[in-house]
């Protein structure tokens, strides 16, 4: 359960103040698949950073599983990211010189999980992101863009997070591989995962069950997606 209450974020550069988010409030229930949509400069990246506990708001509260994340220190935020959030970025998702398996295990390394437990959980995550076993020992720089995103999804799953936060996950992919990735998200949603997808493309946002439009730091529209696209892709099963 995610609750955002009256969040404002102001960036200061010298004497200038830029208001990136103005008094934003919303909540996301467990198991929801929400797309946050907006053009560049709308404040969606700022919102993504706050939701991902990469940054703290200037004012307001952000409750993640009932815990207020807004006032935590840098290292406490690192723990929150490690335990409760799974990230899928647009690019540079994986350590290039490490194997797929090692990449997926990395959050567990920082969580201090023992080696054999780590391997067990990484295997489970790789299976649920539908990654064939013969990729596991490949180095991540040997993979294609779509494959990298699916490894990133597996890594996002490995800590069993409250929230999977995807920032333009299909931004660097062609539409066919993008569909495989979106189908993977939809399947995870059906399995009960909470997913927040940040994008500027309506086509991508339409794969979610709820769409929030953000513009000039404010939420303009928030509602159920009535024209939902459901993709079934055999590769994502």
């Amino acid at each position: 359960m995610i609750e955002v209450k009256n969040i404002t974020k102001i960036y200061k550069t010298g004497d200038f103040e830029t208001v990136a988010l103005k008094n934003v409030s919303f909540s996301v229930r467990d198991g929801e698949f929400v797309a946050i949509m907006g053009p560049s400069g709308s404040g969606k990246s700022t919102l993504m950073h706050l939701l991902g506990a990469l940054d703290t708001p200037t004012s307001g509260e952000y409750l993640l599983d009932g815990k207020n994340v807004a006032k935590l220190s840098e290292d406490e935020l690192a723990d929150i990211r490690n335990e409760k959030i799974g990230f899928v970025f647009q690019q540079f998702n994986l350590l290039p010189r490490a194997t797929v398996f090692r990449n997926v295990m990395l959050p567990l390394v920082y969580a201090g999980v023992e080696r054999d437990k780590r391997e067990e959980r990484a295997k489970k995550a790789l299976v649920s992101a539908a990654l064939p076993e013969d990729w596991w020992q490949h180095h991540s720089n040997e993979l294609s863009g779509g494959q990298i995103q699916r490894v990133a999804i597996a890594r996002a799953l490995v800590n069993n997070p409250t929230l999977i936060l995807a920032d333009e996950p299909t931004g660097n992919l062609d539409s066919k591989t993008g569909e495989i990735v979106l189908a993977t998200f939809q399947r995870l949603h059906q399995e009960g995962r909470t997913i927040v997808l940040i994008t500027h493309e309506l086509y991508v946002a339409e794969h979610a069950e709820r769409i929030m439009h953000i513009r000039d730091g404010e939420i303009k529209e928030d509602g159920k997606n009535h024209s939902r696209r459901i993709v079934h892709h055999p590769a994502a099963e």
Binding site: D75, A78, R81, F92, L95, Y110, N159
Partner: protein, 408 residues
């Protein structure tokens, strides 16, 4: 993160750019290698100097004549030139000073020596039977001068190996029983000493020993002695013996002011410590020069680590996004720099060892690698990794995850 994990990560990170890591490590290798080599050369030199000082005797005190000041005159003859020490002084020391193991007065002179086939000019030492004990002389052939020889003023001689070679054209000949002429007086050879090598001051192998009484009667005249060698019972009694000898001789020579003494007592321990302080100074000098190259190597490490941190900004951002704390990031980069310097340190020790072996092989200076210098080098190199890796690691840990992820 567990140590083994950290080392694994650090290993894969430093092996990505092998040439760069290799060149950076080279700086540390040269630094540590030269420190080790310099210390080992210095210690080896110290060891060989000490050994050669020890070869002239153990727990040795040497009494020699000092200035001779004629009352009413400001002129003083050179140190050691005076004939102030006598056989009687030596006998008095032997009978009155305690804690003495052996005593051997000696008298020196240079003479022309002739054998049947050759001739040479060398040092002739008149002494007594206890001389080999006091001055660590070993016999290779025949025997040394006996008490009987001294008592009977026998014209017998013991030759050093170099002198034997000079007089008989070969060191392997057995000259015992042959006759040589010293200052045109016939002497019968009764023994040859073992080679001792030079002690840095004189060649102890180019020498002839004859009985003290014979030297006094036929060569020098008078009952003067050039010096008195005293062997103390052990190292701890040397100071006491030195004091007793000084007091006794001052009394015998009727001198009350120690500054006016017409003799001096040289303690072997003093010579050793003087030589040690010289070699120590020069070891420190060499090691500090080598230490400069170690610092330069450390700066190389820092330079490389700073470059690495910049290059891997996005990796740092990603690691932070998935839960790495500041400590995780800084220990990762510290592990990398310590790994580089540690490997450099180990290779450097091997290099330093090889250099010191080569120095021993080609120059003959004995070298000694001590365990403490090896431990010190390993410690210092790891420490350099810590010190010069700290700033880059802290910089990496302090990066803002959002900015790091955006970094192009």
């Amino acid at each position: 993160m567990i140590i083994s994990e950290l080392l694994e990560e650090a290993f894969s990170a430093v092996t990505v750019n092998k040439v760069r890591s290799g060149l950076t490590v080279l700086g540390i290798i040269i630094g540590i290698g030269s420190v080790i080599a310099m210390i080992s050369i210095g210690q080896g030199a110290q060891g060989s100097i000490n050994a050669s000082i020890q070869s002239i005797g153990s727990n040795l005190l040497v009494v020699s004549p000092s200035f001779q000041r004629t009352p009413g005159s400001v002129v003083s003859s050179g140190r050691g030139a005076a004939e102030t020490l006598t056989q009687a002084d030596s006998d008095a020391i032997a009978s009155q000073v305690t804690q003495i193991a052996a005593i051997a007065p000696q008298i020196n002179g240079r003479y022309q020596i002739k054998s049947r086939t050759a001739n040479t000019n060398t040092q002739v030492v008149g002494t007594v039977s206890s001389y080999p004990q006091v001055r660590n002389v070993d016999m290779s052939l025949g025997s040394f001068i006996s008490d009987q020889d001294v008592a009977s003023v026998a014209k017998v001689a013991v030759l050093g190996p170099t002198t034997t070679g000079d007089l008989f054209n070969s060191t392997s000949t057995d000259p015992v029983g042959e006759t040589i002429r010293i200052n045109n007086i016939n002497f019968k050879i009764i023994g040859v000493t073992k080679a001792k090598g030079g002690n840095g001051f004189s060649n102890q192998d180019d020498i002839i020993y004859i009985p003290l009484s014979t030297s006094q009667r036929y060569l020098q005249g008078g009952s003067y002695v050039a010096s008195i060698n005293i062997e103390a019972q052990d190292a701890s009694s040397m100071t006491s013996v030195q004091e007793q000898v000084t007091n006794l001789l001052m009394e015998r020579h009727r001198i009350s002011d120690p500054n006016q003494a017409d003799f001096s007592v040289i303690n072997q321990a003093d010579i050793v410590s003087a030589a040690s302080s010289v070699t120590n100074t020069f070891t420190i000098l060499l090691a500090s020069i080598a230490g400069i190259s170690l610092v330069v190597g450390g700066i190389g490490i820092m330079n490389m680590m700073l470059t690495t941190v910049t290059e891997r900004t996005r990796e740092i951002g990603l690691r932070k996004a998935i839960g790495a704390k500041k400590k995780d990031i800084s220990s990762q980069f510290l592990a990398e720099s310590v790994m580089l310097t540690f490997v450099g340190g180990v290779i450097g020790i091997i290099l330093g060892w090889v250099i010191s072996l080569l120095v021993t092989h080609f120059s003959g200076i004995a070298t000694a690698i001590s365990w403490w210098s090896v431990f010190l080098a390993v410690g210092v190199s790891a420490g350099i990794g810590m010190i010069f890796g700290y700033y880059p690691a802290r910089r990496a840990a302090g990066l803002n995850p959002i900015e790091a992820l955006r970094y192009e």
